[in-house]
Structures are given as structure tokens and as C-alpha cells.
Amino acid sequence: MVRRMDSMSQFKVLQRAILPVNDRSQIPDDLFETAGLYFKRFDEKTGMFISNIREEFPDD
């Protein structure tokens, strides 16, 4: 059975289920494309997207 998830919706993930990935080469192009809905820029050094929601999350 094929299951497809909508790539454009947000949902909650438990902290303990998270395995951080900071290696740019492991990130496929289509993740970049959909991340563009939420982020404008990406930091190559840290391998993280740059937050643009500091109003809601000032410490991040």
C-alpha cells in the first residue's frame, strides 16, 4: 500500500523522536523547495534554515 503524506502541512513531533541532521548533502532538493514555504534562507555552515519568526520565537 502506498501512503503519501502532504508535504506542505505542519504537525507536531515529539522532541525525543528527533535526530538532528546538520549535513547539507543529506538534504534532498525537494525538502528545500517545500522549506521555502517557511524559510527564506539557509545557513550552509550550520546546515540549518534561518528562522524568520523571531517575533514568536525570540531565542531561536
Binding site: M1, R3, V13, Q15, F57, P58, D59
Partner: protein
């Protein structure tokens, strides 16, 4: 592009104006087909490719494959630039093209006064003096008898007038919308398989843009086409409206102003129907109220437990193995499992990115 093609055709056919309408139509058809600008190779593989639904894709990029409807549109557009009156014709399962002669003259150049009236003394009707073409499929004219025989196979010969005459723009749009929608239904006859990843120079895919976002946009176009063209109290309309509502709740891409500007008036025209919550204006107002609530900043120091990751962090889900990006965090999620510690779980909200299959 269409202008350029028309000019090119004219340059190659200097005596075009002296031909009869029928000859002009056939010449254009042959020329376009010989340039491989119409039709499709391997239709069993390519018919349901999203890219082939779009006239821009078909014209700009080789191979210039397109659905019959799009091939017909290309033909009619260029014909129009050359002074030929051609229109798409919504024949079942396969759109054809109708060509009409100019007023007062027949397709073969015979002036109207000399045309024979039929037994009832009436002059030939518009349908009688028209020709059918299938730019998608063939160089030659398609005789009416062939089309009538095909209709008879479907049992629809009584409605021949409708199927053989030119289509209304509204109907053409819905036809294309259904074709777009159909590219997303899985192939029921073959084995179930996800579309394989293809590199971006593969011309069977739309030539630009994320495939995920293209898919989403194409389906959205289908929903909006229904909302704008179908009667507002039909089931299909209400179903389409609900899909728009869902979009508001599952992602921030709400396009509230679009709903307010175009859908609310349509709904209002037919008076309140359905349930109260079906009224799009309620959705619009709720959304605006939500948008006006100032955001309370969430600070890490206030969280019930330690927040380990930052907004923008890319991660892989430990169990479900997909990739996501953190877009925020909260410490008010539901308590999930007995092995949770005394501290409340901190839930970063993440974004799922990749299609996956499971058995």
C-alpha cells in the same frame, strides 16, 4: 510563441490567401504536425502526465507533447492568427477541432447564393458546412460519418449536435481541469508504484518548480475551476469549498483575500444553504480574527522542559524515518506514552517533506 509560429507559417506559404478554407485548414494542420508541435508519443505512458496538460509547457519545450484539447487549442490559436475560424469541439474522450468558412462562402470557396438548399428549402446550417480535424491524431480531415459512428458506439448519436459543435469556454476549462485531476489518480490497472524520482531535465515533467508544489497548485487549480464554473448549490461545488476550507486548516497558505473576493459573492448569490459553517464568510472572518491576535513570544526559559533544538533545524524522525524542519516548539502537547518522564514532553512542530511508502 504563437505569433512567431503564425509568422513563420505565413512566410513558408506565400500563396496561402488563395487557398480555400478547407485547403488552408489542412495545410496548417499538416505543417504543425510535421513540425511535431502537436499530439503525443506513447499515449499509454504519457497521457496522464501533468506536463502535457499545459499549453505553455507543450509549446516551449521539446518534445512538444500535449493532450488532444491542448493540441486543438494550439491549432485554433494559430489558425485564428491566420484568419481561419477554428474552434475546439468537445467530442467525448478526444477533443477535435471544427473549422468554419467565412460568412457567405463555403469551405471550398463556393459563394453562399449558389449553395444548394436541402429538401425543406433551408440553407445549410452552420454545422453542415464545417469540417472536423484532429490535429492531435491525424493530418487528414475527419469525416462526420466517422464521428457519428463513434458516437453510435457510445450510444450518444442522438446528441450529435452537442458533441460535434464547438465547445463553450466554460466546458473546455472544466474538461482540462478534469484532465489535470486525472493525472493524480493512481493507475488502477498496473502495479501500484510511486512516481520514480527523475532528474530535472526530464521533459515528461513540468519544466520548472518543485514537483510537490506543482502538484499542489495543479490540484488547487482544479478546485478553483469548479468553484468558479459550477453551480454553487451542487454537491461538487460544496465539496470543492470544503477542500478550500481544509487547506486553511492544514497550512497557513490560506489566500483569505481570494476566498473573500471571489467565493463569497458566488455563495451569497444563491442565498444561505447547507450548514452555517459552510458559509465562506465565516471562515474569512475567523481567519482575520486569528491573524489579528498578537503573537505571544515563546521563550525557552519559560518552557516546562528543556528545548533542545532550534527553529530551522533539519531532522530525521527516529521511527518514521522522514526528513523535516522544525518550525516551532510548544510544551503543551498531549502526554503520549506511559514512559514519559515527570517533565512534560516538549513538542517541536516539524514539517514533513518526503513521500514515503509503507507495506
Amino acid at each position: 510563441m504563437l505569433d512567431r509560429l503564425a509568422v513563420e507559417f505565413q512566410r513558408e506559404h506565400e500563396e496561402f490567401e488563395e487557398l480555400t478554407t478547407r485547403q488552408k485548414a489542412l495545410t496548417l494542420n499538416r505543417w504543425l504536425r510535421s513540425r511535431k508541435l502537436l499530439g503525443m508519443d506513447s499515449p499509454n505512458r504519457n497521457y496522464r502526465r501533468l506536463r502535457n496538460c499545459f499549453i505553455g509547457q507543450a509549446l516551449r519545450y521539446k518534445p512538444h507533447q500535449s493532450l488532444p484539447l491542448v493540441s486543438s487549442a494550439i491549432y485554433c490559436s494559430i489558425a485564428d492568427r491566420l484568419g481561419i475560424d477554428a474552434k475546439p469541439c468537445l467530442f467525448p474522450s478526444h477533443v477535435h477541432t471544427l473549422v468554419f468558412p467565412p460568412a457567405g462562402v463555403s469551405l471550398d470557396g463556393i459563394p453562399a447564393e449558389e449553395a444548394e438548399a436541402n429538401q425543406d428549402g433551408e440553407l445549410p446550417t452552420a454545422i453542415a458546412d464545417s469540417m472536423h480535424l484532429d490535429p492531435y491524431g491525424t493530418d487528414e480531415e475527419v469525416p462526420k460519418d466517422t464521428l457519428l459512428a463513434l458516437l453510435a458506439n457510445f450510444g450518444w448519436q442522438a446528441n450529435a449536435d452537442i458533441f460535434l459543435s464547438s465547445g463553450q469556454p466554460r466546458s473546455l476549462i472544466m474538461r482540462l481541469a478534469h484532465n489535470i485531476r486525472a493525472t493524480f489518480t493512481p493507475d488502477l490497472s498496473g502495479p501500484n508504484q510511486p512516481e520514480p524520482y527523475v532528474p530535472s531535465f526530464d521533459t515528461s515533467r513540468p519544466a520548472s518548480g518543485s514537483s510537490v508544489i506543482n502538484r499542489d497548485s495543479a490540484l488547487l487549480a482544479f478546485v478553483w475551476a469548479r468553484l468558479m464554473l459550477l453551480p454553487p448549490n451542487g454537491l461538487e461545488w460544496v465539496d470543492s469549498l470544503h477542500r478550500i476550507f481544509d487547506r486553511f486548516t492544514t497550512s497557513w497558505i490560506g489566500d483569505t483575500w481570494l476566498v473573500e473576493k471571489y467565493i463569497c459573492p458566488i455563495y451569497d448569490l444563491t442565498g444561505p444553504h447547507g450548514q452555517v459553517w459552510d458559509n465562506p464568510r465565516n471562515l474569512v472572518n475567523t481567519k482575520r480574527d486569528q491573524d489579528n491576535v498578537p503573537l505571544r513570544p515563546r521563550r525557552r526559559a519559560d518552557a516546562g522542559a528543556e528545548v533542545l533544538y532550534k527553529v530551522g533545524q533539519v531532522f530525521r524522525h527516529r521511527r518514521l524515518n522522514f526528513l523535516g524542519v522544525i518550525t516551532g516548539w510548544a510544551d503543551d502537547g498531549p502526554v503520549v506514552a506511559p514512559e514519559d518522564t515527570v517533565m512534560r514532553a516538549v513538542d517541536p512542530s516539524g514539517e514533513r517533506s518526503v513521500y514515503y511508502t509503507c507495506m
